[in-house]
């Protein structure tokens, strides 16, 4: 997924690419032949590059925020707007009501959210362990069937859950795991292994082969190479994969719905059920659902954004 180009040294903050403008006075201009005679038009002094750059930055930031935030802010607004004036679009100023949040929480969301949290985390960790080992071993081995193997790993991911639900339910029942957190963890681990392997593999593709090969020539065994050399380097990549897996597990709806009843209910199922009492399936309740479902993950990502960014940029490996 992230087969980036040849990695360069980690770049410190650098100036933006120059816009078309007067030539910079760098370089060996002396050696150039004299320019053709042209009437010199007095030019208005362009603003210094720093100010121009700052304006670009502000414009860009504004554009980015204007593109991303409005729908989310809209949901937040709807979730606290009193029901009676909900569809009066002209009313922007109102006294917010937190009743919907209260109703949601009072409907007993604590346990399901806890279940979601536990199963998503354990599931992601399990995925990382299995996928990590596999990816790290794949990544520096050359063998011909690689493309085919990737395909085999990716394709099942595309199967919609419609038909896979039944065999999985049957398997879990025969293992006696219906409606248990264990079942969820097992499923979550399995779901995201393909994605995690792909993410990690591309990330690790930039690890210089020489490191591994010299270690091998020094007689290190495979596990030693993987654990001592690759693992430390893969840190940010593992974190990035963990976050992605966590997000997908957290939002998973159909499988927890079918596989659990009471004991292992997840947050997503609980919240959807509460909102979907059809008379309640309304904008206020749905907006609240959206906000509650998203906030934990948002906080998570924002808190770990630096590592996330580093995890996705190959440059960090060369530090």
């Amino acid at each position: 997924m992230m087969r980036s180009g040849p990695a360069g040294p980690a770049a410190p903050a650098r100036p933006s690419p120059p816009e078309a403008g007067p030539r910079s006075p760098h370089g060996p201009t002396a050696a150039r032949p004299a320019p053709l005679k042209r009437p010199v038009r007095p030019r208005r002094r362009a603003a210094p590059a720093a100010v121009r750059r700052r304006r670009w930055h502000l414009a860009g930031i504004a554009a980015l925020l204007a593109w991303t935030l409005p729908p989310f802010l809209y949901l937040v607004m709807l979730s606290v707007k009193p029901e009676r004036i909900l569809i009066d679009r002209s009313q922007f100023l109102f006294w917010p009501t937190f009743e919907r949040y209260h109703d949601f929480v009072a409907s007993g969301l604590g346990a399901p959210i806890w279940t979601s949290l536990v199963t998503s985390t354990l599931g992601s960790l399990g995925t990382l362990v299995l996928a990590g080992l596999a990816a790290m071993t794949f990544s520096f081995l050359e063998f011909r069937a690689k493309t085919v193997l990737f395909l085999l790993i990716l394709l099942p991911r595309m199967f919609p859950p419609v038909t896979t639900v039944i065999p999985i339910q049957l398997m879990l029942k025969s293992m006696g795991l219906i409606d248990t957190k264990t079942a969820l963890v097992i499923l979550f681990i399995g779901f995201e292994i393909p994605l995690a392997i792909w993410v990690l593999h591309t990330f690790l593709a930039d690890v210089p082969r020489e490191l591994a090969e010299s270690a091998a020539m020094d007689g290190a065994s495979l596990p030693a190479i993987v654990l001592r050399i690759l693992l430390p380097l893969a840190g940010p990549g593992l974190l990035a994969a963990f976050i992605l897996c966590f997000i997908f597990n957290w939002n998973e709806f159909l499988f927890p719905l079918i596989v659990t009843s009471f004991n292992a209910r997840t947050g997503s199922v609980a919240m959807m059920s509460f909102t979907a009492g059809y008379k309640k399936l309304q904008w206020g309740a749905l907006a609240t659902l959206g906000v509650i479902m998203t906030i934990p993950v948002v906080l998570f990502v924002l808190a770990f954004r630096q590592s996330l960014v580093r995890g996705f940029t190959a440059g960090a490996l060369k530090g």
């Binding site: 029901e83 009072a106 007993g108 059920s273 059809y278 309304q282 906080l299």
Partner: protein, 464 residues
């Protein structure tokens, strides 16, 4: 990384939030007594079922029974009941059932019929099956058996703004324009006129006062995926057409003259509906009506009753009257297609006796009244409850509406228990949607639907 204070703050905040959620979550769960039988209920998180569960627990306590509900989104109830029963999961005792699900769940052996139990002597007295209003329970019968204990009837009716209809200015203007007195529409022609009359833009006047927002003649939910057809089917039946096919000959009649007339009518009526009608579901339409933006709403009575008279949700409390759907063809007065909701017994239940016992107690006259106290918009399917003086005084809304409905003896049809009904309905609804959005003429759209439904029936062997 962990040493940075920022992460600590976030982690602590998250931990506190989670801990508090966990505490509130567990505290809100009732403690389980040791020697109680626990029954489980699978159903949607609708107010009436929440009320049912609450009352069931009250009634069940002295019996040593408690009821644990599992609420899921409506569609998913069917799927879960189906898949669980197919894979041998034995968790459930009660399952919510909707009348169009009866053929499916009974064929899949996910639920068991209740006739045998009902006819046993002790049960008859408690349950009094004759008390069930047959009009509203027919939908829960299939292959000669009753598959669920009737709980909630949901007749489709009109809810209209009594203040708007009684306003003298409006009455005068209407008389002048259409030549007859303004009143609750009795025929579909009158409905069209009334809807047209009351569709106004912001700035025009209503009841003598200028409007600051658009006002709509009709407010309905027409989302593709079942809602649209569910609203339209009443009109289809009212115009004298079959519900997509003729059950006697199994011949599809999607483009019969009556069906075409109904579609053309609906396309014309569409002009006077609220603009977002193709994207809202039932509750959404009612919210628009409750905000005072429409003159007439056509919806299931319980939908309307749970929003329109509720002070917190509605700006038109006390201003809504209910009437039966209009008539088109004289032989089908106030035609409508009936819904029924009931409580079925899960096939793999481990507590059959207790389940029946509790259900009969809760759904008896006394029990139903208790449930109604919890949820006043419940429309009971028991005649004795409707006639009960206490109900009449305390639940005037329901009483009047249901009385109107029952005494008016409207023509009531039921969705046929056909295996391929959902597919046939889907094909018809697509055609209707194409006609409404102007993509196709009604004739073309319906011809297409007819061809596809015929193809479907041929494949399934109903016709040659």
């Amino acid at each position: 990384m962990w040493r940075q204070p920022r992460y600590r703050v976030v982690a602590t905040a998250l931990a506190i939030v989670l801990a508090s959620l966990l505490v509130t979550g567990t505290v809100s769960q009732t403690s389980r007594a040791q020697n109680m039988t626990t029954l489980t209920f699978l159903g949607p998180d609708f107010d009436e079922w929440v009320a049912f569960v609450k009352v069931a627990n009250e009634i069940g306590k002295p019996m040593g029974i408690q009821l644990k509900p599992e609420y899921l989104p409506w569609d998913n109830v069917f799927q879960k009941a189906l898949i669980d029963s197919k894979s041998g999961v034995r968790t459930w005792d009660y399952v919510y059932i909707y009348n169009t699900w009866v053929p499916g769940l009974s064929a899949a052996k996910a639920v068991i019929p209740i006739d045998d139990f009902l006819s046993s002597p002790g049960a008859t007295e408690a349950v009094q099956p004759k008390d069930f209003i047959s009009l509203t329970t027919q939908g829960l019968q299939f292959n000669g058996k009753l598959w669920a204990m009737p709980m909630l009837a949901a007749p489709y009716m009109m809810g209209y703004r009594t203040d708007v209809f009684a306003d003298p200015t409006e009455k005068k203007a209407f008389q002048a324009k259409y030549g007859y007195a303004l009143g609750v529409p009795q025929t579909y022609k009158q409905l069209m006129d009334t809807a047209q009359f009351f569709t106004r833009k912001a700035g025009q006047t209503l009841m003598g006062k200028p409007l600051d927002q658009d006002f709509y003649g009709l407010v309905m939910a027409n989302k593709s995926g079942g809602f649209m057809f569910h609203r339209f089917e009443h009109i289809l039946v009212a115009f004298g057409a079959d519900l997509i096919y003729d059950p006697k000959t199994m011949q599809p009649t999607a483009n019969s003259p009556q069906s075409l007339a109904a579609v053309k009518y609906y396309v014309g009526l569409h002009k006077y509906m609220q603009p977002g009608t193709e994207t809202v579901t039932g509750g959404g339409a009612e919210r628009v009506m409750a905000a005072g933006r429409g003159a007439i709403a056509m919806d299931a009575l319980d939908n309307m009753l749970s929003v329109l008279p509720v002070a917190k949700l509605s700006k038109v409390v006390g201003k809504i009257g209910y009437a039966m759907l209009p008539t088109q063809v004289p032989s089908r007065p106030h035609a409508n297609v009936a819904d029924a909701n009931g409580l079925a017994i899960y096939a793999l239940t481990q507590h059959r006796a207790e389940a029946f016992k509790l259900a009969t107690a809760v759904l008896s006259t006394q029990g139903t009244k208790q449930v109604m106290k919890e949820y006043p918009a419940l429309i009971p399917m028991r005649a004795s409850v409707i006639r009960d003086p206490e109900v009449r005084t305390n639940y005037g809304n329901v009483f009047n509406a249901m009385n109107t409905f029952l005494n008016g003896k409207p023509y009531t049809a039921f969705i046929p228990p056909l295996k391929e009904w959902v597919q046939a309905q889907d094909l018809y609804e697509q055609a209707l949607s194409a006609a409404m959005s102007g993509q196709q003429t009604p004739e073309d759209a319906l011809s297409g639907a007819q061809a596809k439904v015929t193809d479907l029936f041929k494949r399934q062997g109903y016709i040659k």
